[in-house]
């Protein structure tokens, strides 16, 4: 069963190679891009009664590799001995030890965290059983309290994994989330390799992967960390686009932002934060609008399906986002969001180190982008609680420590970039 899960993930990695070639991503980002592509395709095809199983996995992988071949960007098999140094080797061993330690924990974990079974797992199991987003469930008023308006990228990936394993397994499905973590860390490694020294690279990967909130939340099989990984990749791709002079359309950021927005509704807040930060740091309005259009285009089939099926939404940031239900709580909510963001037991030192790195980087394009992203993302998340019709303190206590994941992962991946002179000197006059 687990071997078939790994095989399916290998095909998803292969699917990402073509995306990496098309969007000029680092090769290390292929796996995360492949999960994103598989998630987008399987989620949208589920709306039109097309089951995404082995045939689709193989077909998309082959097509993607052909694209990479045509573009002349297939990965080469040259092996070089890594020069890591003591801290580098220690970090690499720590990452591998963490993965080996986590594997049996994820493999044996029962699906007992509320949203994991009531929302994400229920939809994943249903997609596996029905083969598609059967509206008798996915648009049923009887199931509406289970957030039917949340998009289907994660449930679809769960269903793809379930089909590979021969059925929905409430324990083994956690391994798909651990593999998501591996894909994210690999993507960050790919971007880091292009921009920062090995001395900084490996310890920072450990900081992210070993953060208690990162691994702990990944184990819950909630969608927050997968979304944060997409946000982290989008932020890195954006920083690269900014650092390289903001030429053309920021296609790679748009792709990862679209993946994030199709993972959770809160992904829209992160997409907006990244796009605003891109605009502020580069003033390339047309390019930023184009990126926004790409994100919206990826979301559109899901939005049309929701509208056509009259699925109620009280969380999607539409016209509801202008109805202020809790005026005056914004400072309290922001304080509550910042609490777990600086807690040593959740994301140790990440936000303070980001602040120091941003201060020392001073006014570069990349630092302006980084600071704007973090500030706008926090304010956007704060706004969710101001406009939500739910009782805000309860809502915050249930979701506040998770909704910030994207900011923290984003800040974590930006910090070593800001500390790298070669990056921070680029661009700003």
């Amino acid at each position: 069963m687990i071997v078939r899960l790994l095989l399916a993930n290998a095909l998803e990695l292969g699917a990402g190679v073509g995306v990496a070639a098309l969007l000029r991503l680092p090769l290390g980002a292929s796996y995360l891009a492949g999960l994103g592509l598989t998630g987008i395709l399987s989620a949208h095809l589920a709306l039109v009664h097309v089951t995404y199983g082995w045939i689709m996995l193989v077909a998309v992988c082959v097509a993607s590799l052909l694209v990479a071949f045509r573009l002349g960007r297939l990965p080469s098999a040259t092996l070089t001995r890594p020069r890591l140094g003591l801290v580098g080797w220690s970090s690499l061993i720590a990452l591998l030890a963490l993965l080996l330690h986590a594997w049996p924990v994820f493999r044996d974990k029962p699906l007992d965290d509320y949203d994991a079974w009531a929302m994400w797992g229920m939809k994943g199991k249903a997609l596996d059983l029905f083969g598609w987003a059967n509206p008798h469930l996915f648009a049923s008023p009887g199931a509406e309290p289970l957030h039917l308006d949340y998009p289907l990228l994660i449930p679809s990936l769960e269903a793809v994994a379930s089909r590979a394993m021969g059925g929905f397994d409430p324990q083994r499905i956690h391994l798909q989330f651990l593999l998501f973590g591996v894909a994210g860390i690999a993507a960050f490694h790919g971007y880091f390799r292009q921009a920062i020294s090995r001395r900084l690279l490996w310890p920072w990967l450990v900081v992210i992967a070993a953060a208690p909130a990162f691994m702990g939340q990944l184990l819950t099989a909630y969608a927050d960390i997968p979304m944060a990984l997409f946000v982290g990749a989008a932020v890195l791709a954006s920083a690269r686009w900014v650092g390289e002079g903001a030429i053309g359309i920021p296609a790679a950021p748009a792709f990862f932002l679209a993946c994030g927005a199709l993972t959770k509704n809160e992904g829209v807040v992160y997409a907006a934060a990244v796009l605003v930060a891109l605009l502020v740091s580069t003033r390339r309005l047309a390019a930023v609008i184009a990126a926004g259009v790409v994100v919206e285009a990826v979301l559109l089939p899901w939005q049309i399906w929701l509208a056509a099926r009259h699925v109620h939404t009280d969380t999607l940031l539409t016209a509801h986002s202008l109805e202020v239900h809790h005026p005056g709580i914004a400072p309290l909510a922001l304080h509550a969001l910042l609490g777990p963001a600086v807690a040593l037991s959740a994301w140790p030192l990440i936000l303070p180190l980001f602040g120091i790195a941003a201060l020392l980087a001073r006014a570069t394009h990349v630092s302006v982008f980084a600071v704007t992203f973090v500030v706008v993302a926090f304010l956007g998340l704060d706004w969710i609680y101001v406009v939500s019709p739910l009782e805000w303190s309860n809502y915050l206590s249930y979701s506040g420590d998770r909704v910030i994941d994207g900011v923290l992962v984003g800040a974590a991946v930006l910090t070593p970039l800001l500390a790298t002179e070669r990056v921070s000197r680029i661009g700003w006059p």
């Binding site: 049996p104 699906l111 007992d112 079974w117 469930l137 009887g142 702990g216 030192l349 180190l353 790195a357």
Partner: protein
């Protein structure tokens, strides 16, 4: 200097994070038998598993079910009845919740929800 601060900070952060996460993972490792895994969400939410099992006996794979909730009470962001409904939605698949009681092929009427 920036790089040095960032490097030292990363090493300190990693030294704080790694043992905590290691211990958290060790503490989270549980081994359950197949049956316990299947009812783990219900156990976690302290639901009446015998009641849900009786629903499963009444509901076939193609049914649309409806639960007539007795007096309900708030629980977190939801209610006790909604937690039972959520669990039923997960556990009774591929049977689905009906759009309304009139649309249901099976109507479940628990006397109380512990």
């Amino acid at each position: 200097m920036r790089r040095t601060i960032c490097w030292v900070g990363a090493v300190v952060a990693a030294l704080i994070a790694f043992p905590t996460t290691w211990d958290n993972l060790s503490g989270a490792h549980v081994r359950l038998d197949r049956e316990a895994v299947q009812v783990a969400p219900g156990v976690h939410e302290q639901l009446d598993l015998a009641l849900v099992a009786s629903w499963a006996e009444q509901v076939g794979p193609t049914d649309r079910w409806w639960i007539v909730l007795p007096a309900d009470r708030p629980e977190g962001l939801t209610t006790r009845g909604a937690v039972y409904r959520a669990y039923a939605t997960f556990a009774l698949l591929p049977a689905v919740p009906a759009a309304s009681i009139a649309d249901a092929t099976v109507v479940l009427r628990p006397e109380e929800l512990p």
